[in-house]
């Protein structure tokens, strides 16, 4: 068991980091807002944490991580105030634009070596750090359920105009969730930077936020733990099926992409509430047979 654990330590680490990222997308999705700025937030968090560790070696890791979460959260406020007035695809497009601007900023910034990025970042992230961060995120999002704020968020998701009419402060709630999502994405960025030794702008392109969204949707956004289930499923599955793909003569890169796309399509068409709705569906079917 320990052997197995050690052999796959890196895989577990990525499950955790991807879980945090999927939760960061879920944070805005659970009040009905599709924000795709999270690759940008993640980049800001990763660069902040890495720069602190590299340029100020005396600072404890926990402080660097806190800065990773805080920096994108602070930027989310002035971004969110104008942008959250937009709805649906317009919000998605504006936030995609923000993510690209952040990436281009780091490509052109000489202080962080432009497109090459920062390298030789000391490895400070342990598996338990990631597990702790994930547990914390799940606790916060889980506590929202059934709370006054949780109901407000659900009301906004179902019908924003009606929610506002009922006296719910919609802008504040949406902004709070955007900031929370930014903090989670930044935290994941900080953790990843101190796990993979490097940060480069190429890792924060549009495809990255698509991955996060895919994992959140595949897991299911009706339950707060759904995104983590989706992240675990989609991170582990390609590894499990790698052999089978190779036997079919498929390279691992395209194979992983294809799986991601095909699974996402199947889920959105046939299982709109994601993988976590499977047990309930089976139960219903079993009851129907009896």
């Amino acid at each position: 068991m320990t052997d197995l654990f050690l052999a796959y330590e890196s895989l577990f680490a990525f499950v955790g980091i991807n879980g945090l990222l999927a939760l960061s997308v879920y944070a805005t999705l659970c009040c009905g807002q599709l924000s795709l700025a999270n690759a940008g937030f993640m980049a800001i968090g990763a660069y902040t944490g890495a720069l602190i560790t590299l340029r100020a070696p005396g600072v404890p890791f926990i402080a660097a991580l806190a800065a990773s979460a805080l920096a994108p959260a602070l930027i989310a406020v002035p971004l969110g105030l104008p942008v959250l007035r937009l709805r649906g695809v317009f919000l998605a497009i504006a936030t995609v634009g923000f993510g690209e601007v952040v990436r281009l900023f780091f490509v052109n910034w000489d202080y962080t070596n432009g497109a090459l990025g920062l390298v030789a970042i000391p490895q400070r992230t342990h598996l338990w750090t990631i597990a702790l961060a994930l547990a914390l995120a799940l606790y916060v999002l889980g506590r929202l359920r059934g709370s006054r704020t949780g109901y407000a968020l659900e009301a906004i998701r179902e019908d924003e105009t009606a929610a506002r009419t009922m006296g719910i402060y919609t802008t504040g709630h949406k902004l709070a969730m955007l900031v929370l999502g930014a903090a989670l994405a930044g935290l994941a960025g900080g953790l990843e930077a101190h796990h993979t030794f490097m940060v480069a702008p190429g890792g924060f392109a549009f495809g990255r936020v698509v991955d996060m969204l895919v994992q959140a949707v595949v897991g299911g956004t009706a339950a707060f733990y759904g995104p983590v289930v989706g992240a675990a499923f989609l991170t582990v599955l390609p590894e499990v099926l790698r052999e089978a793909g190779a036997r079919l003569g498929l390279a691992p890169g395209p194979f992983r992409l294809f799986l991601n796309g095909a699974i996402l399509l199947a889920v959105i068409l046939y299982l709109p509430n994601g993988l976590v709705s499977l047990p309930a569906r089976f139960r219903r079917r079993a009851r129907g047979m009896a």
Partner: protein
């Protein structure tokens, strides 16, 4: 100055052609089809494969465009039609189009590999032509000409033909169109055919113009296409044409005056400013309040 304007018109014509198809689908379905860029890429690869199979370019181009149109019909059938009538169809449609984009990209990556592919030497005669003080290659002029002709054909088709009227009726209100006897599913499928064919044509022209095609070639155009359709007004075909040329010109002059590192940033600046200041764009209708 004249040279830069010419280059801007050239780049802009490809952006416009790409964006016209993008905006057409949005106008009809209110769904952002994020697989549009993947069709762009696939069409470029199909044209390349046809040319490599020793087909002449004048034959390979229309074949690749038709193939792109058919891919559009498949796309609509797999990713959009099953979602029709669902409450959250504009977000779930966006996500399912992302799924198809991923699948298309995987197919391109598997068949053509991650490296840059190029058209064989001499696919198009290499000749320069002088216009006033500026010079352009014959290829560039042909590309501008082809895009303008294709966009004119689309505009006429939408304005004058029975199919065009049906597509516009569905864009206005699918329910009213159905009551009036329009086959809504067919009109939407045809809108996807046209949209993807034009997106594919843009891909082939882009591949010829820069002679480098890779599985992620659609990515950069995808985001610029978004800027174009936002600037032009979501769903407005004439808006996309004007905005496409405008973005091409803005880009070229930005590179000339501010440096090439600002080239991509400027399209996002445009996108951002338009969304904040005037979300309906240049030619869009005032957004109806979502109930």
């Amino acid at each position: 100055m004249g040279q830069q304007a010419l280059n801007g018109v050239f780049v802009g014509s490809i952006y416009a052609l790409f964006a016209v198809g993008y905006t057409l689908v949005f106008g009809v379905l209110d769904i952002l089809n994020l697989a549009h860029a993947a069709v762009f890429t696939l069409a470029a690869f199909i044209a390349l494969a046809l040319v490599d199979a020793h087909l002449p370019l004048w034959l390979a181009l229309p074949l690749a465009v038709a193939a792109a149109g058919l891919i559009g019909i498949v796309l609509e059938r797999l990713a959009f039609r099953p979602l029709r009538g669902r409450a959250d169809s504009n977000i779930s449609g966006l996500i399912s189009s992302l799924a198809m984009a991923t699948v298309f990209e995987a197919i391109a990556l598997q068949i053509f590999g991650p490296d840059i592919s190029r058209f064989p030497q001499g696919t198009f005669p290499d000749r320069m032509i002088r216009i006033g003080g500026a010079s352009a290659s014959l290829l560039q002029l042909c590309i501008v000409g082809t895009s303008v002709v294709l966009m004119a054909v689309l505009t006429l088709l939408l304005a004058r033909t029975r199919l065009g009227r049906q597509i516009r009726a569905v864009a206005e209100s699918p329910r009213a169109a159905r009551i009036l006897g329009v086959n809504v599913d067919r009109a939407i499928a045809m809108a996807f055919f046209l949209s993807s064919a034009l997106g594919g044509a843009a891909g082939v022209l882009f591949g010829l113009a820069f002679n480098s095609i890779s599985p992620d070639v659609g990515r950069s155009v995808e985001l610029k296409g978004l800027a174009v359709i936002i600037l032009g007004g979501m769903g407005s075909v004439p808006g996309a044409v004007v905005a496409g040329f405008a973005l091409g010109l803005i880009e070229v002059f930005t590179v000339a005056h501010l440096g090439s590192s600002f080239r991509d940033a400027v399209s996002f600046a445009v996108l951002f400013l338009v969304l904040i200041a005037r979300p309906r764009g240049l030619f869009g209708r005032a957004a109806a309040r979502e109930a």
